[in-house]
Amino acid sequence: MNDHLLSVILFTPLAGLLVLMFIPGRQKTLVRLWANISAAAGLLVSIPMIVQFNRNAEGYQFMERVDWIPSLGVQYLVGVDGISVLMVMLTTIMGFLAIFSSWDSVKEREKEYYAMFLLQQTGMIGVFISLDFLLFYIFWEMVLVPMYFIIGVWGGPRKLYAAIKFFLYTLAGGVLMLLGILALYFQHNAQFGRYTFEIAELMKLNLPLGLQQWVFWSFFLGFAIKVPMFPFHTWLPDAHTEAPTAGSVILAAVLLKMGTYGFIRFSLPLLPGASADRTIVTVLAVLSIIGILYGALVSLMQQDWKKLVAYSSVSHLGFCTLGIFALNQAGITGSVIQQINHGISTGMLFLVVGVIYERRHTREIKEYGGLAHVMPNYAIVFAIAMLSSAGLPLLNGFVGEFTILQGAFDANKTWAAFAVLGVIFGAAYLLWLYQRTMLGEVTNEKNKGLPDLNWREWAVFVPLILWAVSIGVYPKPYFDILEKPVAQIVRRVHQTPSAVAAVPVKAEAVTR
């Protein structure tokens, strides 16, 4: 099995989906049960990957290579480094929790619902393990369709608008990105006489800076819309707010990370010249900072609980992109850790909203108040989620934000100064939200008899809380696993553009 570990991880959800299709839709419990089993199996098969992963080795591990479309030079080429390992784990864990948390909350068309989640699971894992650019692109686009349905069928009142907006935005970015991919592909044929989409091969290209910039902006549109960076963020509040709880969790925890992952995996190593270009770095850093501050300020004035969490994502993802474009070890490492953290914390926050929404069917903040008296356990869970999102030391958010700020400070002190403001605003909107909903007296009669967390909800929250605390207390494993791959990217970006092309990647590893 170890030879095909990644394929097993990739196709387990899809296999689960195929079986699910033969379960009659009337057997609701069986459908739920099978979907949970498939997702749990998807999680279990990913555990050997993290156990056997060698963090001291350079390059990709568990590689599999099959010629898929030889006449186009497309391969089924998968492999993981430290960054992708973390992303895959995030996907399998959050995917399982999202499916598990839907047990009670989804009451119509269950079979299609779970089918879409399983399909999406395969697409997301594929994005994180593909080492062939076209394969990556196919998975990238494949994710859109299930998410369209998840929002469009099981979403809130404005679900159709939100779903198509999400789809059109991300698709437009994706197609423009495809043009950039094809430009590299064509260049590779022009320089080496061979068509290939393999990332390691494309990294050998010697590209003039002008072309690099051109391709960079095309990648930028694809990735920045997905992240989303300001000013491409407008699809996000709609999609996150209208999606069903589990959909929002997956959107926030995993889908957005596809964008930041794309920057780290493709933009920086393939286009080092453009990525280190002063103008480009400045533009991206400024957009990130605007995202951080704008997201935080807009969160402050939201009346809608879920929308507040959605806008907080814009702010947090701004930190992630700022870390990436600090272009140093601390910045990128922090960014990856913060991506995981955001998955955990914002995932929890969406689940927290989902719990109360299921009981009250409203997300208006002013409908609530004093819930801590009625639902004490819930209040504790929310407090932990909120503090982890706000970056309290000893919880996960602190580690990521601190490291990013450290990297940003090294790169440019002004950036760090503005970003710190974002941390403060972040604490403000979250604490204020907590105060308005949880503290004080119970003002609304309808909230008096609300039941506290049930065992299933506990079962979703406990692993997330443990994970959040573990990162906060002992983040070393994460730094260890990220050290090698991030160092490689940083080295590549900081070489001069011409030198980069002259030194093939493998030789680079040997000379160290």
Partner: protein, 489 residues
């Protein structure tokens, strides 16, 4: 010059002879052998049998080319069998069979089931044969008119339906006009070359300046005639009306067969004899491609009739395929072939699903008629999703690889702006395809509706089109090889 009828001639012409024979025989059988309406299914079988014979004849030609290579020239250069032509012959054959399979139930429901229908399908295919394999202008023109005349009849096949009559008349008038343009262009080409054979025209065109006024006249009129036939803007006006009025099965035939055949001719002319004058016609094609994408996409957005919507989407696809011609390199040519191949199956599939929605007294053409299809018939709904996603060009469906080659060819030849425009229009097209998807999966059925008009033939055709649409997306290698082989000389 002595005229001989050689065995090669016979070998090359055989499929067309078979198609014509079976087509005419069907017309007669309808009167003599199977006068009882309930026996019409035998005519469908007869069509399949005829296609099988033609298929064997094509297969022998394919086999000959595979072993001996090169091409087969018959009638002293009037007909040529090469991999390129055969590629299209297979497309036409598949299209005709699939259209036959989906027509049976549809025509019964519309109460216009007549035996000559199947004969006309085969005669239309016979005309297409000459469009893909003809290398002499008069032969090509006769083939084109054979196809066009049968289509005029087929579009107006629903005799009791006013829209069908109107569509046939419109199609006849505008189609006649476009044929006139084409005939004019052909006559000027003849004037330039002193011969109607493409190989002579090649030499004559190459000897002239690209901006030679007479040559320009010939190219412009030929191009206008062909752009009409492939329904590219601004010569697309007939398409939405003809598509809407025609029986849905014929709409599918029109959208796929007629378009592919006209593209076969367009590509043979413009990649062949007219390619030396590229610089003079490329601007014209760029204008047509961009206009097709603009008009096709933006007009489709507002349609509520699914057949009109797909008509505009077909105009849009014609624009995309033309981009391959504009790029003009081998990648572009290959891309056009791949695109047409996948376009055939996904479009047939989409129209097929529309035919099963037809019920007595209800055309099933409004976008709301798709509402709740997921609850009513999950199988059809899921296949329709695959067809629509493929039409939008989203992987892992076949439509993606059509767009892939077009983009690649444009980038390779430095048409970056065109590539960006084409890429952005993908996002626009998603909007209207997803209106249909939304109706199928999200909207609820408004009232209880009778069961779908399906039959074994329809399900078979659905399986073939659906599996191919998906297969070309998931494992395109054999299809790409086929396209590669078709452009190698």
């Amino acid at each position: 010059m002595n005229i001989y009828y050689t065995s090669t001639d016979h070998f090359v012409l055989l499929p067309a002879i078979l198609l014509a024979l079976f087509g005419c025989a069907t017309l007669l059988f309808d009167f003599w052998v199977f006068p009882d309406p309930r026996q019409r299914r035998w005519l469908l079988l007869f069509l399949v049998l005829g296609e099988a014979f033609a298929g064997v004849a094509f297969w022998r030609q394919q086999d000959f080319l595979n072993t001996h290579g090169g091409e087969l020239v018959a009638f002293n250069g009037v007909l040529t069998v090469d991999h390129y032509g055969l590629f299209f012959q297979w497309i036409f054959l598949a299209t005709t069979v699939i259209v036959g399979l989906i027509s049976y139930k549809y025509l019964e429901v519309r109460e216009e089931h007549h035996g000559e229908y199947y004969g006309l399908l085969m005669l239309a295919q016979c005309g297409m044969f000459f469009l893909a394999s003809g290398t002499e202008l008069v032969t090509i023109f006769v083939g084109l008119e054979t196809m066009a005349v049968t289509f005029y009849i087929l579009v107006g096949f629903l005799r009791a339906d006013k829209r069908s009559n109107e569509a046939a008349l419109k199609y006849l008038l505008l189609g006649g006009l476009s044929s006139g343009f084409l005939a004019y262009g052909f006559s000027v080409l003849y004037g330039i070359a002193g011969s109607t054979k493409l190989r002579d025209i090649s030499a004559a065109v190459a000897a002239r300046d690209a901006w030679d006024p007479i040559l320009l006249l010939a190219i412009a009129t030929t191009a206008v005639g062909l752009l009409f036939k492939i329904s590219a803007a601004p010569f697309h006006m007939w398409a939405p009306d003809a598509y809407e009025g025609a029986p849905t099965s014929i709409t599918a035939f029109l959208a796929v067969g007629s378009k592919a055949a006209s593209f076969a001719l367009l590509m043979r002319l413009f990649f062949g004899p007219l390619s030396p004058a590229r610089e003079s016609w490329v601007p014209l094609m760029i204008a047509a491609a961009i206009l097709s994408m603009i008009i096709g996409n933006f007009a489709a957005v507002t349609q509520t009739n699914t057949k009109r919507l797909l008509a505009y989407s077909g105009i849009n696809h014609a624009g995309y395929i033309l981009l391959g011609l504009i790029a003009g390199n081998p990648t572009g040519l290959k891309g056009m072939l791949v695109y047409l191949l996948i376009y055939t199956f996904m479009t047939l599939g989409a129209f097929l699903v529309l035919t099963v929605l037809t019920r007595k007294g209800l055309a099933g053409e409004d976008i709301n008629d798709l509402n709740g299809l997921m609850q009513r018939a999950p199988g059809y709904a899921i296949w329709m999703l695959i067809f629509l996603v493929s039409l939008a060009g989203i992987p892992p469906t076949g439509g993606f690889f059509g767009k892939y080659f077009i983009f690649l060819a444009l980038l390779e030849t430095g048409h970056t702006t065109l590539a960006i425009i084409a890429a952005l229009f993908v996002a626009v097209s998603v909007y209207y395809y997803f209106r249909m998807i939304k109706a199928i999966f999200v909207q609820k059925e408004e009232q209880e509706t009778p069961p779908l008009a399906t039959s074994l033939g329809v399900r078979l055709a659905l399986g073939v089109t659906g599996v191919l649409t998906l297969l070309i997306g998931v494992y395109p290698e054999p299809f790409l090889r086929l396209a590669q082989m078709s452009i190698s000389r």
